[in-house]
Amino acid sequence: MIDVKNIYKNFGSLKVLKAVSTTIEKGEKVVIIGPSGSGKSTLLRCMNLLEEPTYGEVWLDGRLITPVDPYLHRDVIVKSATFARLRRLRLEAGTYMSDKQLENALVAEIKKNDLLGRFEGREYAAAMRGIYAANQININEARRRMGMVFQNVNLFNNMTVMQNLVCAPVQLGIKTREEATANALRLLRRIGLADKRDEYPSKLSGGQRQRIAIVRSLCMDPEYMLFDEPTSALDPEMVGEVLQLMKELADDGMTMVIVTHEMGFAREVATRVLFMDDGRITEEGPPEKIFGAPENPRLRDFLSKVL
């Protein structure tokens, strides 16, 4: 389960993601659609921390991938120096609220106005460290369980196909070189590219490269696969072979999160579709509903342009 909790992402003054929350359950095939610049790719990249969210947390199977976001932990806010200061001020001014009410009001105010600073006292720091230590998972370990496929493929240019496939499993000590090679060969046979094992990526076609990139991720035996517009940079006649492989993966029961503009594919494969617009998830549901009976006017507008 990938649990995205209230993620914000700012690039300087540009707010790309605004309060995005979603949960991806095991076995789901979630397709994220939306106009360009709506934050689809950024959301996907936040899931394996290629981008670090400005606020918010990402959890993988109950373990924390991102740093702790104090705004998501009420007991942490209560320990902050800012909270203590505000509380003192309110009490000095006199208040009719009960302790509980006052606490609620102050926490809400701190959250709303982003009042927490870098240094909030020792207790606060200890609480933050405590949460982190108890829940965090090493990011490299988390990434091993989440394969990622990129729009521009990113096969290692200095390695042959086979070296690309065995590099990570062998380097990380997950498989011996023989196991990794055998496994890679099996996967290459499956996509019919076993004869390309000693070619460099520059000698392959775009579609072959992307399929090998998918296989490279599979060589790590991931539990989740993230696809960042895997067919957008391909020539039209090569899109089919890549989508075919992804469909096979879906049929095998892989949990997948896919950012794509291929609406036909989304309709066919997705168990859930997220429509993103202006940094928010504005509509989500099963593909029949999203494509059949869209509610949001922006979604209707978007679909009328792409379908």
Partner: protein
């Protein structure tokens, strides 16, 4: 006896060639070892400059910046003199002047190679690092296995340039009483009072050295380009 005969007699009959060969060896050793030291040092400094943000990274970046500023901002001869007359006496270490020279040249070329490598690393597509990280490889491992090999391939021509400059620059090593090939020919010239032929021959020796290096670089480049589409 003409100038050529005088030079030839000094070189062969009075065994000037032993000095020349010894000097040639010194020149080549200092240049090659200097380049190797420079490569390692330069790569490390370049990575310091490019580390992803963080407090340690910032300190290392500053160290790298200061190092490069110091070694690019002062003449090679001055650095050589400081290493020989200030640095090693100060730490009380007595090592041969040749080794001191090698270290000085290595440190100097490290500063230049740092910038060359930084450019090379930046020229590698960011996606390569991302792909490595997304597979669960750490920063260092992705750097060494994926990014640096491609960076080195991109900078081989520039590194060749640096090596050639280094070979020629070693001629100042006689400032700390090391007999390199320049010093050897100088000695021949001084003992015969006949300057034209020795110095012209010296120029030819450097020229031949550089031509050989150029050829070697070309071969290495060809090998490394094997993974590119032609």
């Amino acid at each position: 006896m003409n100038a050529w005969e005088i030079f030839w007699r000094q070189l062969i009959d009075y065994e000037g060639y032993t000095l020349v060969l010894q000097g040639l060896r010194t020149t080549v050793i200092i240049a090659v070892c200097g380049l190797l030291i420079g490569l390692v040092l330069g790569s490390i400094l370049a990575i310091f400059k490019l580390l992803p943000r963080g407090r340690v990274a910032r300190v290392l970046g500053w160290i790298s910046n200061i190092y490069v500023a110091l070694f690019r901002g002062t003449p090679m001869v001055v650095q050589l003199l400081i290493v020989h007359f200030v640095l090693f006496p100060a730490i009380g270490l007595h090592i041969p002047a040749e080794v001191e020279g090698t270290i000085a040249f290595g440190m100097n070329s490290g500063a230049y190679i740092c910038e060359i490598m930084r450019g090379g690393i930046l020229s590698v597509d960011k996606g390569q690092m991302e792909a490595g990280r997304a597979l669960g490889l750490g920063y260092g491992r992705t750097m060494i296995k994926v990014v640096l090999p491609q960076a080195v391939k991109n900078v081989v021509p520039t590194l060749g340039n640096e090596f050639i400059a280094l070979i020629k620059e070693t001629s100042v090593v006689s400032f700390i009483a090391v007999v390199d090939v320049t010093r050897a020919f100088q000695a021949i010239a001084n003992s015969t009072y006949e300057y034209i032929v020795p110095y012209l021959m010296l120029a030819v020796v450097y020229l031949v050295l550089v031509l050989i290096v150029t050829l070697v670089i070309k071969i290495i480049e060809g090998r490394l380009r094997a993974s590119d589409r032609r």
